[in-house]
Symmetry: C2
Subunit: 326 residues, 2 copies
């Protein structure tokens, strides 16, 4: 009902009379009045003039479906948005509902109290300043192929940023880099049986409108935000929608036939690692080498000092000389 009223207000040029709205939905005018008050509390600026009715002046900067959908062209990714003011972490929330949820359902929170990065690290997620979300996916593919989905996420964010005029780099397999600093990280988690995925949760955190003061000492040299990069506030709604649009476009061929060729093209073209000397940490082992490329399966091709070639499926990669940063 609230959703319908917002849509009606948005699609209307001038005033909408309370009578018309109550006729449209078959509820009383005092019910309409109550809905309008709720919307005002949520940050909608609504002008109400006696005998004329209601008019939407402005919408709040929140990432609800009603606010994001006008920029979306997806069929199923993001068509169901569970929106929260505050969560411990969107991945944790997503896990709680994943079994029942439709594929493509997303969890969005304005802030995360315990935002998570990879390997148990924390992720700074201050209120209203980022896109903190998790996408629930249920691909019928072998669990061993799930690493590819992270690349789809990285490519989608990179392309979404391009749509709003921001050039970024992909640091295989799960980070987005601008000016040598991280603006986005992806945390893919999975629940599976031996040869069947129950669900995949892809957490995507994008530092949109954070200021210097939002990063603590540890992050100040390693992380940045889009606002810092371009010098002005970025429209989170558009960016979220654009990322979802690209995600669906890249995900559908993977889901249907395992095809990630478009994703790989993006990951190669926008890679920050190809050609670089890197260190690779995998569990307790550390190696160094030079990144030659990304193969058609999404694996990183690394040449070691002794001339041997290795294909990596996952791992922590840092550029030599920038350890601790990139």
């Amino acid at each position: 009902m609230k959703t319908k009223i917002i849509r009606l207000l948005k699609n209307s040029d001038g005033f909408l009379s309370g009578e018309n709205i109550s006729d449209e939905f078959g509820v009383s005018r005092s019910a309409i009045w109550k809905y309008m008050n709720t919307l005002k509390e949520e940050g909608y600026k609504i002008e109400s003039v006696p005998r004329k009715g209601y008019r939407l002046i402005s919408s709040p900067d929140i990432l609800t479906l009603e606010e994001v959908e006008e920029y979306m062209n997806t069929n199923f990714i993001g068509r169901n948005i569970h929106y929260f003011n505050s969560l411990s972490s969107t991945n944790t929330k997503a896990k709680g509902i994943a079994i029942q949820a439709k594929e493509g359902t997303i969890i969005v929170a304005e802030e995360q109290i315990r935002g998570k990065g990879r390997l148990g690290r924390s992720w700074t997620s201050p209120k209203g300043k980022g896109i903190w979300m998790s996408i629930i996916l249920k691909p019928r593919v072998d669990p061993a192929k799930v690493a590819k989905i992270t690349l789809i996420g990285a490519a989608a964010v990179n392309q979404g940023l391009k749509d709003i005029g921001i050039k970024s780099y992909i640091k295989w397999p799960n980070d987005i880099i601008i000016d040598g600093k991280k603006v986005c990280g992806i945390l893919t988690e999975m629940s599976c049986e031996l040869n069947m995925i129950n669900y995949v949760i892809m957490g995507i955190g994008i530092n949109v409108n954070l200021g210097r003061e939002d990063f603590d000492d540890e992050l100040i040299d390693k992380a940045t935000s889009l606002k810092e990069v371009v010098g002005e506030e970025i429209d989170r709604k558009k960016l979220l929608a654009y990322v979802l649009n690209h995600f669906e476009e890249l995900y559908i061929p993977f889901k249907e036939s395992g095809d990630i060729s478009k994703t790989i093209q993006v990951c190669r073209r926008e890679s920050i690692l190809i050609g670089k000397e890197v260190r690779i940490i995998n569990g307790d082992t550390e190696k160094s080498g030079k990144v030659l490329g990304i193969d058609n399966e999404g694996q990183l091709i690394v040449e070691h000092g002794d001339g041997s070639i290795e294909e990596l499926f996952s791992g922590e990669v840092s550029i030599r000389g920038m350890e601790g940063y990139l």
Copy 2:
């Protein structure tokens, strides 16, 4: 406290005076009396004689730590048993506590209302007649290696059965077979990031004392119980403990260095598939071939009709001519 009283009663030959017990634990004699009543309600037969005290006549057939521990020689597997009279499924319960739980914690239920088999199938789990349990594991290995853990479970059940004098066969990768019928299934589920396991849940269901009436029409030709096989009731406590003992012995080398050589030895020696013509279903594809063996990584080696050799990491395998059964 209850645990301590049970242990004291078990370790005592004759009567234990209420006074001695209350001195030992520093609680009142009426508190002791209340504990004894609780124990009686749980099925413990306790004789109480004025001026002599309490004596344990018999323990109930339940799978609590107090009842199972006397047969256990493990360090961490099963040293923490969460025991339930009834659960939806032990795997589901285990997932709910896995993040916080210590490795080796197990969930045991006397019955499962919605016991789960692989690929979303159901698993019949009537009250008090089986071992329905889930082991929580946290190996620091690559998620891709988790299939091997299922083999450890299968080998442990096979060896536990051997300890009580029952010969069984392992149907790679997750079933135990006697007389051509299933007596045990293993459902391994995992939560992971790309290169880090959060936890593994290994659900093990063993049909111990089920009768023909416990199997519905669909299962009657495919499943059996230990009681049916040997013609008498089997001690569930001993069997559970023996399975856990073998599990820990086989799991420790895997956890510490990825070594599953002992497990592979058992899986080869006790295999029902090696040498057989089989059909293999993996997702939407079906193939047939002859099983040549199990390699050192735990993969099934299959020779196809055209002479090509394939190593399988997982899959549904059925013996030709026995489809729908084995």
